[in-house]
Symmetry: C2
Subunit: 351 residues, 2 copies
DNA sequence: AAGATCCAGTCATACGTATTACGCCCAGGG
DNA sequence: CCCTGGGCGTAATACGTATGACTGGATCTT
């Protein structure tokens, strides 16, 4: 629908037999005590009849706002962030906001300042996913909500034993309950009888991976006879295959591999098969995230589902609240353990 | 970077010692014969010094434009469209355009009119992917470019034998060379010695899938002794597994399964394994698209790589050209056959 | 009854830009 | 010497909205 020919508030005013100001007052919702209910009703009727939609450009100019928020994500090609964007954009659109995306440049680990380029458009707020709050750099002046960035994003925040943040000063956050998710995996595996567990960890400096490692280590340490080995890799199949291979070839081979990501689990499958190990009878494997890949693998992958689209939606809701002057409470979205076919009790005599 | 405090063209004018009009003239590039080169230079210097960025809201209001384009895609959760968006948004941002996304509603196959909701914001143009031009419905009045929609999108267009469109009236298009890609797959398989080929086709009414089916059928028909069977499914693993199973259980079992999508190929793997067939020694399998999944599967999948991000970028380039009054020529982006480990010569005595 | 208060709206204005119409100055032509 | 015209730039304006200042009449207060 192009812009030309669209009815303006002046057209609505003419139709309703009032002035443009009145239309603006009524449709802006600030007419209590200024316009009679009857007039307001007739204005709304006229607007409806003409299909009036306010001109955002004019509104933005007048209000000094852009009704645009910036979504900062590491990348959009990874299967995880598409849904995050979708959820955020859906909520934003419902409130007349647009979303522009800025992705982490390929030459990451850049200077001390923010590695993000300044967006061409001015923006009202920032939704930043999967990064430390310091990374915002010069953007810290702009209202922001951090997603999947952990309680450290809150200045002075502290974390209770259960992993739920108890202090909510500073930047609002929306996180996944990854620690709980990892505990669920650990519980599932130990419940099956596993004691020697290998962790194929993502060598990525993000809160979510630190939290996963910490939760798993704690869970295994608390288990009598529990023993954890660890190897790190990039989040791609070949790197993951190597890392998993190192664990499988090491002394005291683990009976289960806990992977930080579904894609890493795919690499673990390959390492296992290359060594003639069957999943799950010889080796249990778990993933994390539950992306499309999880059920495409064979056997289908036991993993933790993270509601990525919900993360985007909740984050945008919080940001809009913040922009409206609110003080959104931090939220934690629980992950859900999805048990499929990649986990089983360890072979007799090897556990 | 928030809006408040940003320098305006008036500030630049003051800094350069000229009027606001002159600044606008110079920075708008239409100053030939109206402003002296010296003055123009000093204006540009002042703008640079102050870090001036024009206020898009004001510009949009003045010009009656929005500098926003609508990207219509079936979904953003499928791994294929993330990159399309990325490519489109990158090019758009470089020209000061934003991109809003509209996805096909879940209750697809709706009324005769376009199933897309009207966007909240007014838009300047449309980039529509993977749909028939008729689907645009009431949006046809808006300048649009069709992606991955086939030559049918061009009114009165015709297609030469090689699959390259020769007429370019009507809506500009950017397509993949899927027919060539499918021919490459067919050539690869028949070169290995396969004669009985099964096609696990996506039951999706999109040009790209019709083109794939047509090209494969023609290629097999042209082959002495070639025999093609066919089964259709939705683009998900379980549906694909069933469809592939029907072909494998049928008479005269094929030695190779050509799948319309990498995800479908994952289903074919499962059908094969469920029947004790090894890929590739007992059964060759090919995919299409080359998404992340292709190398996560085991064996790694022979497939055709489609440059999705490039599709978005080229499409946006064409749309911006169109909006600037140009008449962009149709483009076809070639697919590339990626031979991996899921294809081999048929077992002796079964070919 | 006369001023004060309130109701129900309207007027005027500013946001920052692009553009049209106009003005000043100097050189050149008749 | 006056008129013309080109070169260089400015004043004025409109885009559509939101909102503070204002107004005419009705109601209330004492």
């Amino acid at each position: 629908m192009s812009l030309v020919g669209r009815p303006t508030s002046k057209d609505v005013a003419h139709e309703a037999g009032v002035s443009q100001s009145t239309v603006s007052l009524v449709l802006g919702g600030k007419w209590r005590g200024r316009v009679s209910p009857a007039t307001a009703h007739s204005v709304r009727g006229a607007a409806e009849r003409l299909g009036y939609r306010p001109n955002q450009a004019a509104r933005n100019l007048r209000l000094g706002t852009t009704r645009t928020v910036l979504l900062m994500v590491p990348t959009l090609t990874a299967p995880f962030f598409g849904p995050v964007y979708t959820g955020a954009a859906r909520v934003a659109a419902r409130h007349g906001f647009g979303v522009v995306v800025s992705t982490w440049p390929d030459d990451a680990a850049g200077p001390a300042d923010s590695p993000f380029a300044a967006p061409d458009e001015a923006i009202d707020g920032i939704l930043a996913s999967s990064m430390a709050v310091e990374t915002l750099g010069r953007f810290r002046e702009t209202p922001a909500v951090m997603l999947d960035s952990g309680p450290a994003a809150r200045s002075g925040g502290s974390v209770a034993a259960a992993g739920v943040p108890t202090v909510d000063f500073g930047v609002p956050t929306v996180d996944f309950g990854v620690a709980d998710g990892m505990r669920a995996i650990a519980g599932h595996l130990t419940g099956l009888g596993h004691r020697r567990i290998g962790h194929v960890a993502a060598a990525v400096d993000q809160w979510t991976f630190h939290a996963r490692a910490g939760a798993l280590a704690a869970a295994v340490a608390a288990l009598p006879g529990g023993r954890l080995t660890r190897s790190t890799c990039a989040i791609d199949v070949t790197s993951a295959k190597e890392a998993a291979g190192r664990l499988l070839d090491g002394p005291d081979r683990p009976t289960a591999l806990v992977c930080d990501d579904d894609l890493i689990a795919a690499g673990a499958y390959k390492a296992a098969r290359a060594r003639g190990l069957d999943v799950p009878s010889d080796l249990s494997v778990t993933g994390f995230d539950d992306v499309l890949l999880a059920i495409a693998l064979e056997p289908e992958l036991t993993t933790v589902r993270l509601p990525a689209e919900e993360l985007g939606a909740q984050g945008m809701t919080a940001l809009l609240d913040l922009l409206a002057g609110g003080r959104p409470a931090p939220r934690v979205l629980p992950g859900e353990l999805i048990v499929r076919d990649s986990t089983a009790a360890p072979a007799a005599g090897t556990g």
